[in-house]
């Protein structure tokens, strides 16, 4: 072989703590290396051009680049060597930035380590073989999980782009958290007014199939052809017959059913339609509260339903869909704020979450839009808002900022003033984070036009004053003095975390998630929509806290990724998959038993059974290789000999 080695300076990123010239010099003595150089920026245009030139000039048939992590630029350089006529797999990277220069200060040790990593890469490359991808057909249909605003946007963009969409929503209606909001910042326009039409578009779009009140049960297969099992939970109402007339909800005698849509700020009936603009507008029976389902006595809704849609015997249904791509848009839930004993731990009726307050402000909410105290129905005069309840708090393991609380709190202060002109809002804040178009202007208006009392400081205790009001004790850290406010109502800006069950879904999707359940994107900056599982994209808060504009933008971005994927006539499989050496195979079946993907089958070859890899199903994990005792099955690009070459390069006694 004729190998060229390029040891990147990466400006001073690598060259600062690694003697790259020395590494290149040592590389000149490695087997099969006929060229070695240390360019300033290998990934930049001149750097790539230099590689191409060297391939031509020195007749290289393999290239090693020692630079950053292959997770960053391996695809880049594979394209580079391909342009120069090499097979893209005749390329290896040595990670001397993330794994060397950035983590070690000792230049001598770093240089030696970098040189050894280059040797390992050379030894592996010497055993590389040209690989070619196989192409396969794609099911041009997308599954979108979650019908909040991000999922809705992704669904509409995909469908408008001509891609059939399966939209799965866990709740009985789409709309997500945004559907619960009264107004939205910074324009203070009606949430329902801007979201409603989009929800209707979803319902009416010919390419969108909506499964509300459904959950994804299982996902198998791969990019291009995922097989998805969806559990349609029984609403005990035949939705094909239900017209959403609401007669059942009026007659239902079980009127003390907790109202989840209203954040438990009121009661509803056991058979219910979440809200007037619900999509789909269909009734659902909340089974634990239904008299008929719990005791067998009642059945009124069935009697009053004009279309006979109520069916107490209706069972869950599991359906299977094949899709080529998946967008996860599962949103968020609130952090459990009852851990804060200083705020009453949830015992005081007039200490509520901002989302509950949103329902109080909302005209279709439990109070019809009248802001009243949950305890006695009186209009509050002094309303205290507390920010960062469960955000930026290491003590409860939530060190991150929930990103949108500062803004909605300002909005809620403004709305409070609109609803109750003689009211006074007080906001305890840590910092005001108003980085966004028109955001800072908006918080200023809340302070200046609406006279909101912003207090920089934390609240140390809330307790009832015995006369129906609450004493909010805190510190004003700007004034450097304690502060005490008598409040009629306290609204907590409770932080957010990934929605319940996100981890389980991540496992089904085979994507990573962080400690708070937020899904991991492929790259924090450069691949914020992609995941490490091909064909699975992210939209909205499931990836990390963000507000509505950002969620919508990411929904569109995810749709763009889906459309990009489906714009290709065929997809190409990664050729780094397992292959069976038929001569070595003894048909012991161990690989077949272990393969997580069912990608190995038994075939009859001239009268004897042998294992064979189904190329489009194999994902290249290599479990079979570690399982096969005789080494008959090998993973291309990660063969036993390649790994052994790396081991030998390291520790030849």
């Amino acid at each position: 072989m004729r190998i060229g080695v390029f040891v990147c300076h990466c400006g001073s990123n690598i060259a600062g703590t690694v003697d790259v010239a020395e590494v290149a010099e040592r590389a000149r003595h490695y087997p099969d290396v006929v060229y070695a150089d240390d360019p300033m920026y290998t990934c930049a245009e001149p750097g790539q051009a230099a590689i191409e030139q060297a391939i031509h000039d020195y007749k290289l048939d393999g290239v090693v680049v020692a630079s950053c992590t292959p997770r960053m630029h391996e695809p880049t350089f594979r394209r580079t060597v391909e342009r120069a006529g090499l097979n893209p797999y005749m390329f290896e990277m040595a990670n001397i930035r993330e794994h060397v220069s950035w983590i070690g200060k000792d230049k001598e040790a770093n240089t030696n380590k970098a040189a050894e990593l280059v040797l390992m890469a050379v030894e592996k490359l010497r055993r590389n073989r040209p690989l070619s991808p196989k192409s396969f057909e794609v099911t041009k249909k997308v599954l979108i999980i979650g019908g909040g605003v991000a999922g809705i946007q992704a669904a509409l963009d995909c469908a408008d782009g001509g891609v059939p969409v399966i939209l799965v929503e866990r709740e009985a209606t789409i709309g997500g958290k945004m559907a619960k909001l009264d107004k939205t910042f910074p324009t203070v326009d009606c949430s329902a007014c801007i979201l409603g039409p989009k929800m209707v578009d979803v319902a009416q779009h010919p390419l969108i199939t909506l499964y509300a009140y459904s959950e994804v049960e299982d996902i198998s297969g791969y990019v291009g052809n995922f097989e998805v099992k969806i559990r349609k939970k029984t609403p005990y109402v035949d939705w094909s017959k239900c017209t959403g007339c609401g007669t059942c909800t009026e007659k239902c005698p079980s009127k003390k059913t907790p109202d989840a849509f209203n954040e438990f700020m009121g009661d509803t009936t056991a058979i219910t339609i979440a809200f007037p603009q619900a999509i789909p507008k269909k009734a659902v029976i909340n089974a634990p509260y239904c008299r008929k389902l719990t005791s067998g006595k009642c059945g009124i809704c069935a009697k009053v339903c004009p279309t006979g849609a109520v069916d107490y015997e209706l069972k869950d249904e599991v359906i299977t869909e094949t899709v080529g791509s998946i967008v996860a848009a599962t949103g968020y839930d609130l952090v459990d704020w009852s851990v804060y004993e200083e705020y009453g731990g949830g015992r005081y009726p007039d200490v509520i979450t901002a989302l509950q307050y949103e329902r109080l402000l909302n005209a279709s909410g439990p109070t019809g839009g009248h802001v009243v105290r949950p305890s006695d129905g009186r209009e509050p005069r002094d309303v205290v808002f507390i920010q960062c309840v469960g955000s930026r708090d290491r003590s409860i393991g939530r060190p991150y900022c929930s990103a949108f609380c500062c803004m909605y709190t300002a909005k809620q202060a403004v709305l409070t003033k609109d609803h109750i002109p003689d009211s006074q809002s007080h906001i305890f804040y840590m910092d005001i984070r108003a980085a966004g178009k028109l955001y800072d202007e908006f918080t200023r208006r809340a302070m200046e036009e609406y006279g909101t009392n912003y207090i920089r400081g934390r609240v140390s205790a809330i307790y009832p004053d015995g006369e129906g009001r609450y004493v909010v004790m805190g510190a004003d850290t700007l004034m450097g003095e304690p502060i005490e406010i008598k409040a009629d109502l306290v609204v907590l800006a409770v932080g957010i975390q990934a929605s319940a069950g996100a981890e389980k879904l991540a496992e089904k999707l085979r994507i990573s998630y962080d400690a708070y359940g937020f899904f991991m994107e492929s790259h924090v900056k450069l691949k914020p929509v992609e995941t490490n599982t091909a064909g699975v994209f992210l939209a909205g808060v499931c990836q990390g806290p963000k507000d509505i504009p950002a969620s919508v933008a990411q929904g569109s971005a995810a749709a763009a990724k889906v459309l990009d994927l489906f714009a290709r006539p065929q997809l190409h499989s990664d050729p780094a998959i397992a292959h069976v050496d038929m001569r070595r195979c003894v048909d012991c079946g161990k690989c077949i038993r272990c393969c997580p993907f069912g990608a190995i089958e038994e075939v009859n070859m001239r009268g004897v059974n042998k294992a064979q890899v189904i190329e489009t199903v194999c994902q290249g994990c290599g479990l079979c290789v570690a399982t096969c005792p005789q080494g008959a099955i090998q993973l291309s690009h990660s063969t036993d000999n390649q790994i052994l070459a790396e081991v030998n390069a390291l520790c030849r006694f």
């Binding site: 992590t69 292959p70 997770r71 960053m72 990670n95 930035r97 993330e98 794994h99 950035w102 983590i103 070690g104 200060k105 000792d106 001598e108 040790a109 770093n110 030696n112 380590k113 050894e116 990593l117 496992e507 085979r510 990573s512 998630y513 991991m520 490490n532 599982t533 780094a576 050496d581 012991c588 079946g589 161990k590 038993r593 272990c594 997580p596 994902q619 290249g620 994990c621 290599g622 479990l623 570690a626 399982t627 005792p629 005789q630 080494g631 090998q634 993973l635 990660s638 063969t639 036993d640 000999n641 790994i643 052994l644 790396e646 081991v647 390069a649 390291l650 520790c651 030849r652 006694f653």
Partner: protein, 481 residues
């Protein structure tokens, strides 16, 4: 390649591409300073990490090996790390028996977001390896020679089976023979003191069948090559376990095999018998009473008492009767279960790590790589395609170093993890008497410990523990970092 003398030790890392390699990148991006000893090999998944890579690295001069992958349930390939966890635990249990400090190997889970955790893992592991110092070389080990103490008590009465229902058995085989291609048993070998496997095709062949403590061979070794043929087989308890294991792995079909069994009262350790007999020109007679075999050679009588001269495996045998059989003859042998450590393993247990390395060095030096151990093993299914003499993959050199030879024994032992039934044929077959069964016994002990007392070759329906996984492993206690 030399490490920086005096500064660094050699630590090899196997990191999965999706989580831990990303975690190491994240640590780099965060400039999370780490010692420079570690060299990372990127693999797609921890499931790709053949445990042999770990032993190979440690035998070839790595001072430490670290494997890191996605957190359980978080595997990019769903379950690769679940399989890996089992295999890595087994290899860690195995290392000390060949004299390698198990602390030189660790595995953990680090996600792509856990840069800080990665930093901590590297710092901690590197510090631990520095505390242990450079790994000792097998070549530098001080040879140690020691013999196992074979004075043992048995879990069941040992005897010669002289009253065994041999006549009935022969009759049954003759009756069944027309339906079968042949029946495997034992016959007298080059003299009356030695038996060899017998392939019975005719009733006259059946008359050659013998039974007794001289029947040392495990006839199950032949079964896989006859898959698809109708074969009968006469078994001892231990032989039947091999059959159960072969069935479990679908290497033979149950309906093709007819199993005849007589309860076994123990077999003789032919090595000791041959030593005692010495050089002789003729066997005059072999007679048995209940407890002993008397062999007269060149006019001299030699009495072998079963309680003293049985094979090491017989003392701890809990399955004198077949675990699976179609036709059983004779009265079952009672077993009194009790804790039992095989003699060779007990001997190794009593040694320090250094002594064990010296022990194996001294033993392996006389290995000629005839591979009788491998070919006598009923569970060695690769047969003509063993990786010991392959270039593709090229695990072993043809050089004659004790290290290569010990590595072959490691290959065999690890390939037998969860599969070895302890029949001891490997050790019996070894012409130069290397006590290699101990390595397999250590694996079997580890498998029992890690997988809830699992024993190979008991239940043909069981799934071999290394070919499956559990999300929660009740018996695996992962280390805390």
């Amino acid at each position: 390649m030399p490490v920086l003398e005096g500064k660094e030790l050699r630590i090899v890392g196997f990191l999965c591409n999706w989580c831990s390699y990303g975690g190491a990148d994240t640590a780099g991006v965060a400039r999370a300073g780490q010692p420079t000893d570690l060299r990372v090999i990127r693999v797609p998944c921890t499931g790709r990490v053949d445990p042999l890579f770990i032993v190979k690295a440690l035998l070839e001069g790595a001072d430490g090996v670290l494997v890191s992958g996605c957190h359980p349930r978080d595997c990019h390939y769903s379950v690769g790390n679940f399989y890996a966890r089992r295999r890595l635990e087994v290899v860690r249990e195995f290392l000390p028996v060949i004299g390698i400090d198990p602390r030189r190997f660790a595995y953990t889970w680090v996600s792509a977001s856990e840069g800080q955790r990665w930093q901590e893992v590297v710092q901690k592991f590197t510090a631990e390896i520095h505390d242990l110092g450079p790994a000792p070389r097998l070549e530098d080990a001080k040879p140690l020679l020691r013999l196992a103490d074979m004075a043992l008590t048995s879990l069941h009465p040992l005897g010669t089976g002289e009253k065994a229902a041999l006549a009935e058995l022969k009759e049954a085989i003759k009756q069944k023979l027309p339906e079968l291609d042949f029946v495997i048993g034992w016959q007298e070998g080059y003299d009356a003191a030695h038996t060899v496997p017998l392939f019975m095709k005719t009733p006259e062949d059946v008359d050659k069948l013998v039974w007794g403590p001289l029947n040392v061979n495990n006839p199950a070794v032949y079964l896989p090559q006859f898959k698809g043929k109708k074969v009968g087989i006469v078994v001892k308890g231990c032989d039947s376990r091999s059959i159960a294991e072969l069935l479990q792995e679908k290497l033979i079909n149950r309906e093709d095999v007819t199993i005849f069994s007589i309860p076994c009262e123990g077999v003789l350790d032919m090595a000791r018998v041959n030593t005692e007999l010495g050089r002789y020109t003729k066997i005059d007679s072999v007679t048995m009473d209940e407890a002993s075999v008397t062999i007269t050679a060149d006019g001299t009588e030699h009495r072998f008492c079963m309680t003293e001269c049985a094979q090491g495996k017989c003392y701890g045998c809990t399955t004198p009767g077949a675990v699976i059989a179609d036709q059983r003859f004779g009265t079952p042998v009672e077993v009194t279960p009790a804790a039992h450590t095989p003699p060779e393993l007990a001997m190794l247990d009593a040694m320090s790590l250094e002594e064990r390395m010296g022990f194996w060095k001294a033993q392996m030096e006389r290995c000629l790589r005839c591979y009788a151990c491998r070919n006598a093993c009923p569970m060695c299914v690769c047969r003509d395609y063993c990786i010991s003499d392959s270039r593709e993959p090229h695990w072993m050199s043809q050089g004659e170093s004790a290290r290569d030879k010990l590595f072959f024994q490691t290959i065999h032992a690890l390939h037998l993890a969860g599969r070895c039934t302890g029949c001891g044929e490997c050790q019996r077959a070894c012409p130069v008497g290397i006590p290699i069964l101990a390595l397999r016994q250590q694996i079997a002990r580890a498998v029992g410990k890690l997988f809830g007392g699992y024993q190979s070759g008991i239940n043909p329906e069981a799934i071999p523990p290394l070919l499956t996984y559990a999300v929660e492993e009740p018996h695996i206690h992962e280390r805390d970092w």
